[in-house]
Structures are given as structure tokens and as C-alpha cells.
């Protein structure tokens, strides 16, 4: 009986109807922000620090050099 009811009665949702915002058309803006804040901000910060460090310690020096030399490799 219970099962029959479940199958036939329309679902009564308790949730408030949600209004979708428009962050690239992605649902509610807050959700976009919160799901990503925890990842993108720390990863972004670490990357920025890493890039500054790499730049200062000369890792980007002559970055084009290997691209020039690639042409000399014999096939």
C-alpha cells in the first residue's frame, strides 16, 4: 500500500524552490564560488608563489633556447 502510494502520489518537496543565477549559467552563484574556493584559491596562491620563485631563481632564463635547438635534431 505504502509502495503504491509512493509510486502514484506526486512528490511533495520541502525544499524552497531555487532560483538559478547566472554564473556562466551555472546554477546558484554561491555554489560555484564555495565549491571552488577551497581548491582554486590555495592552488592558485601556491602556483603564483612558485612562479615568482622560479622566475627569481632563473628557471625561465633562455626558455626559448631549447625550441631553437629542436630544429637541429636529426630525424
Amino acid at each position: 500500500m505504502m509502495i503504491f502510494q509512493l509510486m502514484t502520489e506526486p512528490m511533495k518537496s520541502m525544499a524552497e524552490p531555487m532560483v538559478h543565477g547566472s554564473w556562466f549559467g551555472v546554477g546558484d552563484g554561491t555554489i560555484v564560488v564555495w565549491s571552488l574556493v577551497g581548491v582554486i584559491v590555495p592552488v592558485g596562491l601556491v602556483s603564483i608563489v612558485a612562479f615568482i620563485w622560479a622566475g627569481k631563481t632563473g628557471h625561465f632564463k633562455n626558455i626559448q633556447e631549447i625550441a631553437d635547438r629542436q630544429l637541429d635534431i636529426e630525424d
Partner: protein, 488 residues
Amino acid sequence: MTTSPVSTSTSALSPSDDRLNFPQTIAFPALERRDYAMQTWLFSGVFWMVVAASIGVIEAVKLFHPEFLQGIPALAYGRLRPVHVNIGIFGFMSMGYLGAAFYMVPRLTQTALYSETLGVLTAWAWNLNLTGGVLAILMGFSKGKEYEEMPFPFDMMVGLLEIAIAGNLFSTITVRKEPRLYVSLWYILLAIIPFPIYYTLGNVMKFRGIEDAIVNWFYSHNLFGLWLTSLGLATLYYIVPKQLNKPLYSHAISFLGFWTLAAFYPWNGGHHVIWGPVPMWVMSASVTASIAMLIPTIATMVNFGGTALGTQGVMKRDISYRFSILAYLSYVGTSLWGSTLAIMDLNAKLHFTSTTIAHVHLGFVGFGLAGLVAFVYFYLERSLKLGYSRTLAEWHFWLTTIGIIGYVTSMGWLGWLEGSEWAAGNSVQGVLELRYWYNVARAGSGGLLLIGQLILVWNIWKTMTSPPSDGAGLDDLKSVSLNEGVVL
């Protein structure tokens, strides 16, 4: 140029000089020939490419004429389609581009391959395993989930073999003589290192329900993005500057493109289940990452665009380069299109339509096939110093180009119409009639594509088997114009 030329002696690449001792003790002398492994991978890839396209054409005919080959269980649409997809991905794309990787790694590192024997053996094991997996699907033993249809043990064997392949390439890079890593090597590393992780996750049958769908797409998208796309881009980064005899426009921009691709692609999986019953954060994270993919796409576009600027002359003469350009344009097109497809409103309209199929084939055929073919011609003329038939190659190019355009426009336009009809309330059955001629057009374009690839195989066969004699073939060699300078 700020160059101190690398040692270009071929002896650096021949499999005898100083390597770790272990592979030498297990090496079979017959297999330890220079480039033997890469040839086995590359030509296996070309073989599977033709098989995948042939099955594609059969499927395409069945979609407008279902009576075609009806009544044979192994050739039912539901079995042929996963066979087409698995052969396309694991046969044609994986094997062909691994061939290119086995070619590039020794050259860019100036170091002989860690083990040619292992390379050849893994290639044959991969071929055998794929044949087994495909036969199993044809007999009805499918795991029933997209991109992971091959049943146990064939599925796990792919993962194990990849570890052996990755070990071989990675070891070569580790003991390299050239200290600097050219961008192609970054992409090869990105392809070979994480593969066993997502591949195993995707293929174990441990997850249930929604979780399973999310993991399934995490795996599948990494398979397209980190495995196939990385190997494809590595190849284009290697051959395009050489075809033009002009260095890459900017190694720094490729750095930006590489790291943003590596950072955002693994988040893209969720865009396959937009509006599905998955948590909202999975959708939103994946949509954001898909839009963020514009950064690597545009970086790649600018980099190759800058390199290719003003090279129309080479394009006219060098068919291999023309295929590279076709692959480049298709790659950029597929990726810009992909970022758009991920926009939620548009996805609601287009997800279940043939638009996805058009996107897939622009990626796999426009980018994947054209890129590999560019490498095949490059290899024949630059490395083997063989002159292939220019006439056949022209036919091949135009049939392939028309085939791709025909496939992508017929399916792309059909997808838009389907989406519009469904949005207007029409039923699935209601659009079947509409689909008919578009499906015929797709099969026709696929047929042209297939004929083009058969011409390629014929051309390779003729080129590699005709006896080299002094002078003979020289005209051909000239006509494909070795080592052309840049024409501005």
C-alpha cells in the same frame, strides 16, 4: 638563435651505447634495432585506424538502413559501436601516437630508448590484448559502461601494459643526455604518468550508481584530455617547427598552455553529466573548468598560429604540413566548441543530440587522424628518406578533408535541429524521419574518409616495399620537398 647545437650524431640514438645495463641483459638482439619499437606502434596504429573507420561506416549505414547485416549477433549495432570506440581509442589513437612518442623521446633526449625489446613486446602484447577485448565485446561480454567496455582481464591488462610502456619512456627521459626538456616531452610525461591512476579507477567495478557515473566520466575525460590530446599535441609540437624549418613561436606560451591544460582538464569529467542527478558542485566545478580550458586552447592557438603565420607556400607543397594544419585547426575548433557545449543552457538543448557526435569526430578524426597522418608522412620523408607518391597523397588529403567537413557539418547541423525539435516538445520518434538524410550524408562522408585512409595504406605499402635504386624515387623526393625553408 642562441644555439650550441646538440649532438646530432645518430650513434647517440642507436641502442648500444651507455644505458643502464638491465635492459641489455634481457634484450633480444633481433628486436634491438633502432626505431623498431616505434615502427611497431605506429603501423599498428595505422592498421587499427582503418579498422575503426570501416566499422564506423558499417554503423553509419545501419543508422539509416537498419536491415544492413541484420541477424548476426556479433554485428548488431549495440556491439559494433563499443568495438568502434575501443578500437578508435586504444587501437588507432593510443598505438599510433605512442609510435610518435617512441620516435620523439630518443631524439629529444639524445639518448637511445631504454629498451627497444620491451617497446616491441609491449606493442605486440597491446595488439593481442586489444584483439581479445574486442572479440569479447563482439561475443557479448561487455562491461556495459562507456569507454570501459572491455571485460576482465583485457581491461586490466591495458593498465599493466601502460605501466611497462611508461617505464620504458620515463627511464629514457631520466637518463637523458640533453638536459633541457622540449615542450613535447612535457606532454608525453603528462600522458604516461597519471594514466594508470584514472584508468584503474575507471575500470574497477567497485562504484555504484551516481558515484559510478562520476568516476566513469572522470576517467573518460582524462582519457581524451590527458592521454590522447597530450600525445597528439606533443606530436604537433615536434613536427610543425621542423616542417617549417622555423622554431616554435614561443616556448614560454607553450609553458602557459601546458600547465593550464594539466590543471583544468582533470576537472572536466563532470561536464558529461550536466543536469544529471549528480551533486551541483560536480556540475559547477566541471563547467567552470571547461570554460577555463579556453586559456590553454587560446595559448595553443596563438603559439601554432604564430609559428604558421605566412607559410602558405609550404602548405601548398608539403602535404604532411597541410595535415598538421588540418589537425591544428580541428583541435582548436573541437576545444572551443567543447567549452561552449559545457555551458549549461546550451548543454540542456544539445546533450542528447548528434552535436556531441560531431564534436567527438572533429576531435578524433579532424585532430587525431590528421595529426597522426601528418606524422606518418613526416616520418617517411624525413627519417626514412623515402619519397611517397604525391598524387596519392593529394587524393588522401582531399578525401580526408571533405570527409571530416561532411561528417561534422551533417551531424552538427542535425544535432541543432534535434535539439530545437525536442525543446519545442517533439518526441524522439518525431525526429526520426528528419534524421534520415543527415545519416546518409554522414555515412557518405565516412565512406570518403575510409577510401582516403585506404589510399594512405596503399601509399605507405608501395613506398616502403619498392626497392631503393639510385635516382628512382628522387623526383618524388623532390616533389615532397625535403627540408624546405620558410616561405614568407
